[in-house]
């Protein structure tokens, strides 16, 4: 299996993502600079966290309209797996690869801390290594993670099992007080209709080593490698 990480000016968790993917893959992913017009032939594209283009105008907006992202979008439409983490989630959502939008956190502040996530579905190439309703401890670090989508689309997404993760209590209880950003129904991550695209605000790549305080994020990378190999 081959993977690529797309790097934009202002990306800042590309090395973290690279470390996680390398650990799961056993080889290094290709780093693709945004101005490279060609995306290599890969099975997985990861759009990492950071502040692409300073997150000016709207988070992810400028990167979403870059030529390389057009390419990523085309690949995704052909079935290639794409995961966007944090800013990557914002970028692929702005690009229309996922429904909804990420608004400013409801408390308006940047938030960096560990959260608990409840796995909503395991029937995907990303989450197959988890159990349904498993509770993960993974950090968040963002200013705009407040997921919003209109009621009708939300209904369709829920019916189609497109919610990946929800913020919850350590015991798995999904309640507003465990939501770090005000997102709709505690949504932390979502899939596209065909479930080959995942966007999530939390950082599984920062929970892959006991020294980081949690290894719960690693199974996500292992799962992807397994499914795509």
């Amino acid at each position: 299996m081959k993977a690529a990480i797309v790097v934009f000016p202002g990306s800042n968790r590309e090395q973290d993502a690279k470390a996680a993917l390398s650990k799961a893959l056993g080889t290094e992913p290709v780093m693709v600079w945004h101005r490279d017009s060609e995306l290599p032939k890969v099975d997985l594209v990861l759009v990492p966290g950071g502040f692409s283009y300073g997150d000016y105008l709207r988070t992810g907006a400028i990167a979403a309209h870059s030529p390389i992202l057009r390419e990523v979008k085309e690949r995704a439409e052909k079935g290639v797996a794409v995961i966007g983490i944090c800013n990557g989630f914002q970028i692929i959502t702005e690009a229309g690869m996922l429904p909804g939008v990420l608004l400013r956190n409801s408390h308006l502040k940047f938030v960096c801390r560990n959260v608990h996530l409840k796995v909503a579905t395991t029937q995907t190439l990303f989450t197959s290594r988890y159990e349904k309703d498993q509770v993960l401890s993974v950090p968040v670090a963002h200013h705009d993670g407040n997921y919003f989508v209109d009621d009708k689309t939300l209904g369709e997404m829920e019916a189609n099992d497109q919610i990946a993760f929800r913020y919850c209590a350590p015991d798995g209880n999904v309640a507003v007080e465990h939501n770090p950003n005000g997102s709709l129904r505690n949504i932390a991550g979502v899939f596209n209709r065909t479930k080959n695209v995942l966007g999530m605000m939390p950082h599984p790549e920062n929970a892959i080593d006991p020294l980081q305080g949690s290894t719960d994020g690693f199974a996500l990378f292992q799962g992807m490698v397994e499914a795509l190999s």
Binding site: G50, F51, D55, C112, H143, Q212
Partner: protein
């Protein structure tokens, strides 16, 4: 050279005393042009020349076998073994943060990060030491919210984790908050970059963001006492652009991996003036700049404005001539300005041209060597009687007192602050904020750095000598408590008006106490910053010598954290 006649008023507006101006006339042998006067005023400001503090700073120990570079460069450097070096420094952005908390704090963080990556190091951790007025003061809330958001806004975007710091409150900071930011970087010990220019004929290159009319006279503002109407006469405050700085960081590190750079310095406060003067002075050379080549963002900028602008996210470099094109290609890749603006000369003069006219022609070395140095009069802080613990009444309700203490502004949790900082980016934060010292693992190794900042201003106020020593010792204890070995410190000396003997007495006392502790612990000072005139209407802040300490631990997996791990374990109290 200049149509403007220099009057005593103009001299005073530039913060120069009449004696200092006499020295200017002596050095120049004629009346200076406005641009030249501006350059003198910046170079001789407290901020750049350390004229009130220099004699005292000399008392600090700065040497040890592991010190690669002590004070005097953009940042200090220590050897941490395995061919690696830690590069760090702390700097204040107090006045700008009071005027515009978000941008003031943000640009402070940007400035200190540039100091560190100019040395060839990748920043791996940020620290912030903050002091605010009383929590009840309505302004405090506004200031702390803005400052914390600004520090996060810049550091988070740069992708550098903010892992430690401190926050205190006291009425003496009501009109003068303190925002001290520290950055720790990692470099190869044999690949440190310095600022001394070399090689007559070598090109002088400007890179980064464009120059605007930002903060002209900021460096002199940072050295002048506030009065109540400062808020009205607000000078332009710089707006930070962390995105551009992130590009600048990556571009500089990419260029540093090649063999292109002879010397490099960031344009901090006092911008192009201090960088060009200091680089050529250190190399014993002259420098000639064509100001028409400086990338500007506004039209009609004068030589004076270009030289005094404090626009952020800019660097000055001397390149090997054959490396021009490699360097240009890297900066173009990162979409940053790259301009050859001058050349090194053997004249020992700084020569500035604009529109074909010579706007300044002045000897470089006196700008640095002849900068005034003052042995300001000082009086020692009177010793206070010791209070015996037994003489104090025992509170009736101890649990209630404990609750009150835990809930007090100075002891309550700082989670509200550090959760606004990305303290996890880079994935190597092993001990997060909330403990004694933060621990950051180094890439690909079990080794890590322990990082902390400390100062207890009320101790320094009661007894400067003890307070100074205590601040150093506390960083030492914080680092050892994690299992790491403390190696060196940086400091940020925040004080009131040095022209008052009591304030100079506090300064002197703190320095002596710090020096004593550093010597006793073999814990040298490798960089630092002085911020004086933190006063409003004659009321100074508590003396606040903030210490930033760095230590090394061979295996971060063996570091110790604060939480009790299990019930029924034994709790020991050690020490006196």
């Amino acid at each position: 050279m200049s149509a403007v006649k220099i009057t005593p008023e103009i001299v005073a507006e530039h913060g120069l005393t009449s004696d200092e101006y006499k020295l200017v006339l002596e050095i120049m042998g004629r009346e200076p042009s406005m641009t030249e006067l501006g350059i003198f005023s910046v170079m001789w400001s407290e901020h750049c020349s350390y004229k009130s503090s220099r004699v005292w700073l000399k008392k600090l120990p700065t040497k040890a076998a592991w010190v690669i570079q002590g004070p005097g460069e953009n940042a200090g450097v220590i050897d941490i073994g395995d061919g690696e070096a830690a590069v760090f420094k702390m700097e204040s952005h107090n006045h700008p943060s009071f005027i515009e908390p978000y941008q003031g704090a943000a640009t402070g963080v940007g400035g200190i990060m540039r100091d560190v990556f100019t040395m060839g190091a990748r920043p791996i951790a940020n620290v912030n030491a903050l002091r605010f007025g009383e929590p009840e003061d309505s302004k405090t809330r506004h200031l702390i919210a803005g400052v914390v958001a600004g520090i996060g806004g810049y550091g988070n975007c740069m992708g550098v984790p903010t892992v430690a710091g401190e926050v205190n409150f006291h009425a003496s900071y009501n009109g003068n908050i303190l925002v001290n930011a520290m950055t720790v970087g990692l470099a190869d010990a044999d690949k440190i970059f310095y600022s001394a220019a070399a090689g007559v004929g070598n090109p002088v290159i400007y890179v980064g963001a464009k120059t605007g009319r930002d903060g002209i006279h900021g460096a002199t503002m940072a050295s002048a006492e506030f009065t109540d109407d400062s808020e009205e006469k607000r000078p332009t405050v710089q707006v930070g652009d962390p995105f551009t700085e992130k590009l600048l960081l990556e571009a500089c590190l990419e260029l540093m991996a090649t063999d292109a750079i002879v010397a490099i310095q960031d344009m901090g406060a006092a911008g192009l003036t201090s960088s060009s003067v200091e680089m050529s002075d250190k190399g014993g050379l002259g420098i000639e700049l064509d100001l028409d080549k400086v990338p500007v963002r506004e039209t009609g900028m004068t030589a004076y404005e270009i030289m005094l602008s404090e626009s952020q996210e800019r660097m000055l470099m001397v390149l090997k001539p054959e490396a021009r094109e490699t360097a240009r290609a890297i900066f173009e890749k990162w979409e940053l300005d790259f301009a050859e603006i001058g050349v090194l000369t053997d004249t020992g003069h700084l020569v500035l041209k604009k529109n074909g006219k010579v706007e300044a022609d002045m000897p470089v070395s006196p700008l640095v060597d002849k900068a005034p140095v003052y042995e300001r009069p000082w009086v020692a802080t009177p010793k206070q009687p010791e209070i015996a613990a037994s003489s104090l009444p025992v509170p009736a309700d101890i649990p209630a007192v404990l609750l009150q203490l835990l809930g007090s502004a100075d002891l309550s949790s700082r989670r509200w602050v550090w959760e606004q900082y990305d303290h996890l980016v880079m994935g190597r934060t092993v001990q997060r904020p909330g403990g004694d010292a933060a621990i950051v693992q180094l890439p690909g190794k079990p080794k890590g750095l322990a990082i902390t900042s400390d100062c207890t201003p009320r101790y320094c106020y009661a007894d400067p000598h003890q307070g100074g020593a205590q601040a150093v010792a506390e960083t030492w204890r914080n680092i050892t408590a994690t299992g790491a070995k403390p190696l060196a410190i940086t400091d940020n000396m925040n004080f009131g008006n040095p022209q008052r003997p009591e304030i100079m007495g506090q300064f002197a006392g703190c320095i002596e106490g710090m020096a004593e502790a550093c010597k006793a612990l073999d814990y040298p000072v490798i960089s630092g910053n002085v911020s004086l005139y933190n006063e409003t209407n004659g009321k100074g802040i508590l003396p606040t010598p903030v210490i930033g300490g760095v230590g090394v631990i061979a295996d971060v997996g063996k570091s110790v954290s604060i939480p009790f791990k299990e019930a029924s374990e034994t709790v020991l109290l050690i020490g006196e």
